[in-house]
Symmetry: C2
C-alpha cells in the first residue's frame, strides 16, 4: 500500500459509481466544470482514484435531505485512494482530504467514512503513542489485569482541596487511575494548578502508605500554549498523566500536546456522538482513532458496554478492538482502550471478552462512588469481577462468597438505563 | 447575561423537559446516579440550569436510532445555561461543555445545537478577529463593493511555479483575492514555501503594473509549530493572508494561529457538512461561528448561494448574516463572510441582498477560470454583476451591453447542478 485509501458508505440519487467519481474529483483535481489545466498528466500524478464500488441496497427515498433528486437512491461502499504526494504525512491535511468538502456534496444523500488504510510512509513519519499500554502499566504499577479507574464526581463543583481529598481517599482504597471529568478544565471555580497541587500531595501521601502512586489524568484541555504550560507544571509536581478533549483541541492540538508531553495522553472523545450517531452521515470510530493514534494519543476512550449512552455494544466493541490493532502494515502504534460511562462490576468480564485480553482501563464513576459499601468496596468489586473473568467463572457465582461484588451486582443491575 | 446559554433542538422518548434536565445534569454536576457529594450548595454554585422548554412536535418514531424507547417522541427547543465559573473564557472547555457528551445520551433521539448566547465576560477575554472586514479591505486595496476572489484550480496537481504563474495572470486580470484550495497544503508535490515564493514574486510583479497587490490566502493548515513557521515565512515574503482548515486544526489550533499571526486568517470550513447536514444531529453554523470568531477568524466560509453543495440557500443566508452580527451584547468581533463553491456572476447580487451590504468576499473558481473569454473576462463579469446590483438593475438587463457578463450568465446558467 503506497496510496492513502478511504472507504465510505454512501447513498446517491445518481448511482454510487457516479458519486464516487464526483467525490474523487472534488477531493483532488476536479471542480464542477472540467478545466483545460486539468491535463491527463496532471490527473495521473495527482488525482484520487476510485478503487472499488459495491452496491448494497436501493431505496425510494433519500436518507438525508438532498438537493439533487433521483428516481431511486443507490447505497453501497466505495473505496477511494490518493497519492501521498498530495499531502505528505501532515495529519491535518489528510483529514481535510478524507473528511472535507465531500460531506456537503449534493451527489450524495448519505456518506459515512468507515475506514482508512494508512501507508507505512505516513505511519512512519508520525510520532504515535509515547507510552501506550506497556508504558502506562509501568507508570501505574499494574503489571497484569485490567486497570481500574474512576472519574472525579460530581464532575464539576468540588473545590481543588475537595478534589485532592477525594483523590487521596480513592488512592488509599486501592484505585489504579483517576481522571478529571471532561467538564473540569481550568475554570475559576477550580483552577487546574490548585487542583493538581492538592491532588498530587494527596496521592504522594497515599503512596507512602500503599507503596504505589495512583495515576491521575489531569484535564489540561485549553489553548495550545496553556496546555504546554500545564504540562510543565504537572511534570514538576510528579503527575503521571494528562487528559485532553480531542474534539476541543483538534487533531493539530493533539499533536502539539504529544510533541511536548512528558506524560501519557489520556484522550477523551466527548462530542464524538456528533459524528458517530447518525447512520447516514459521519465518521466511524475505527477510521478516526487511527489519526488520533498517529498524532500521539496513548489512551483512547471507546465508550463502555451497556453504558449510559445510546451507542450499541457492537459499535463499542469494534472501537475497543480497533485501538489495539496495528495502525498500518508496518506500524503498531497501539493505544490503551478506555471503557467509560455508566461502568460497574457488570461490565468488566464482557469488556475483557471483547478484546480477548486484559490490556484495558475501565473507568467507573458512579459504579465506584455509589457502591453501598463506599468507594473502597466499589474498587474491590471491580477487581473481584476481573478475578472471576480470569478464572473463567460466572460473575454472579463468584459473588456468592464476595460481599463487595455481590453488593455491586445488586446495586447497579439496570442502573444505566436511568429512564 | 452573565451565564453561558445554549439552545438545542431535541427529540426524546422521555419528553423533552425530562431530557433537558438530564442534559443539564450530564453537562455539569450530575451522573447516572445521584451522589451524596452532589449537595444543594454545590448544585447552586455549579449546576447547569434548564431555562426554557418549548414542545414543537410529536412523532411515533425516533429520528435517530436510540437505545431508550418511548411510546412517542417529543420534539422541541430547550435552552440550558451554565455559570461561567465552571470553565472561564477557555473556548476548548466551553466547546466540551456545550457540544460534548450530550450528543451521545440515550435520552435524546435527536439533538442539534442551534445557538449560543455568549456573555461579555467571555467575549471580552477572547482576541476576536485581528483584521476583520475593514482590515481586510485595507490590505486588499478594495475600499467599497464586494471583494472578488478565486481559488487556484485544479485544486492540486499544479507545481509551485505553475501556481505562481496562474496567480500572476489572475492579478494582472484584476482579481482582489486568490486562495489555495483546502486540499493544497504543504505536500511534497507542491511545498508551501516554494509555492509562496513563486506566488509572491508573481503578485509583486503584477502589482508594479496594476498598482495594487492582490491578497493571496496561503493554506498553512498543518501541525501547530509548522503553522507558526509558515506564518513567519509568509510575513517575510510580504504575503497578506493565511488560510486554515478549521476542522483540521481545531478550535485551539485556530487560537494558536491567531496568537502569532501577522496576517488575516482565512477560515475554511471544509468538513462542515459532517455536523450540519443531518436535521437530527449536529451544530448549526450560527452557533459554531461565534466560537471561531472569538478564537480569531477574520474571514469565514459560509458556502454559497445556489452552490454545488447540497445546503439550501436559506441556511447559507443565515450563516452569512450571523458572521457579521455581534458576538455578544458588548462585542462586535465582526468577521468577513466568504461565499464560495460553484459561484459565478449569477450569485453576486443575491449575496449582497442576503446581507444588505457589500462587505463580503465571493470566491469563484470555475466561475472565473472557465469563463469562455478567459479569467480576465470572468473577473469582469463578477464586477459587472456587482455594478448591476449597486445600480439596482436586473443582471440580465445589465448584461445586454456587457459581453463579459452576458457570456458568464449564458455559460454558467445551471452549471452547478452538475448531475
Amino acid at each position: 500500500m503506497t496510496r492513502l485509501q478511504a472507504t465510505y458508505d454512501i447513498e446517491s440519487p445518481l448511482g454510487i459509481a457516479h458519486a464516487a467519481a464526483v467525490i474523487a474529483g472534488e477531493q483532488s483535481t476536479g471542480t464542477f466544470i472540467r478545466l483545460a489545466a486539468e491535463t491527463d498528466a496532471l490527473r495521473d500524478r495527482s488525482a484520487a482514484r476510485v478503487e472499488a464500488v459495491e452496491v448494497t441496497a436501493t431505496s425510494a427515498r433519500p436518507a438525508l435531505p438532498c438537493r439533487l433528486k433521483g428516481d431511486s437512491y443507490e447505497r453501497g461502499r466505495v473505496t477511494i485512494s490518493w497519492p501521498v504526494e498530495n499531502f505528505g504525512p501532515s495529519l491535518p491535511n489528510i483529514l481535510a482530504t478524507v473528511a472535507g468538502n465531500l460531506f456537503e456534496l449534493a451527489e450524495v444523500s448519505a456518506i459515512r467514512l468507515l475506514s482508512l488504510d494508512i501507508p507505512d510512509s505516513i505511519a512512519g513519519a508520525c510520532p504515535g503513542p509515547q507510552f501506550g499500554i506497556s508504558g502506562t502499566r509501568r507508570l501505574m504499577g499494574v503489571e497484569t489485569g485490567p486497570m481500574i479507574g474512576t472519574i472525579v464526581k460530581p464532575s464539576v463543583g468540588l473545590s481543588a482541596q475537595e478534589t485532592g481529598d477525594l483523590a487521596g481517599d480513592l488512592a488509599l482504597a486501592g484505585i489504579d487511575f483517576i481522571k478529571d471529568d471532561e467538564l473540569q478544565g481550568n475554570g475559576p471555580a477550580c483552577p487546574l494548578e490548585d487542583r493538581a497541587k492538592a491532588v498530587m500531595q494527596a496521592l504522594d501521601g497515599a503512596a507512602q502508605k500503599t507503596g504505589r502512586k495512583a495515576m491521575y489524568a489531569f484535564n489540561i484541555t485549553d489553548e495550545i500554549t496553556d496546555m504546554w504550560r500545564h504540562l510543565e507544571m504537572l511534570e514538576k509536581l510528579g503527575a503521571t498523566c494528562a487528559m485532553v478533549s480531542l474534539n476541543s483541541i483538534g487533531l493539530a492540538g493533539l499533536r502539539a500536546v504529544r510533541d511536548r508531553s512528558p506524560l501519557p495522553i489520556h484522550a477523551h472523545r466527548n462530542g464524538w456522538g456528533l459524528v458517530s450517531r447518525s447512520p447516514d452521515i459521519g465518521v466511524a470510530y475505527p477510521a478516526m482513532q487511527k489519526l488520533w493514534r498517529l498524532a500521539g494519543a496513548d489512551h483512547l476512550h471507546v465508550n463502555g458496554l451497556a453504558s449510559k449512552f445510546t451507542e450499541p455494544d457492537d459499535v463499542v466493541a469494534e472501537a475497543a478492538v480497533s485501538v489495539q490493532a496495528p495502525v498500518s502494515d508496518g506500524a503498531a502504534h497501539q493505544a490503551l482502550p478506555v471503557f467509560s460511562s455508566g461502568q460497574t462490576a457488570w461490565q468488566v468480564g464482557p469488556s475483557a471478552d471483547v478484546l480477548g485480553n486484559d490490556d484495558f482501563l475501565i473507568c467507573a464513576g458512579g459504579g465506584i462512588m455509589s457502591h453501598p459499601g463506599g468507594p473502597a468496596d466499589g474498587i474491590t468489586s471491580l477487581r473481584q469481577a476481573a478475578e472471576a473473568h480470569r478464572l473463567g467463572l460466572d460473575v454472579t457465582e463468584h459473588a456468592k462468597q464476595r460481599p463487595e461484588l455481590a453488593a455491586a451486582l445488586a446495586t447497579f443491575k439496570g442502573a444505566v438505563t436511568r429512564g
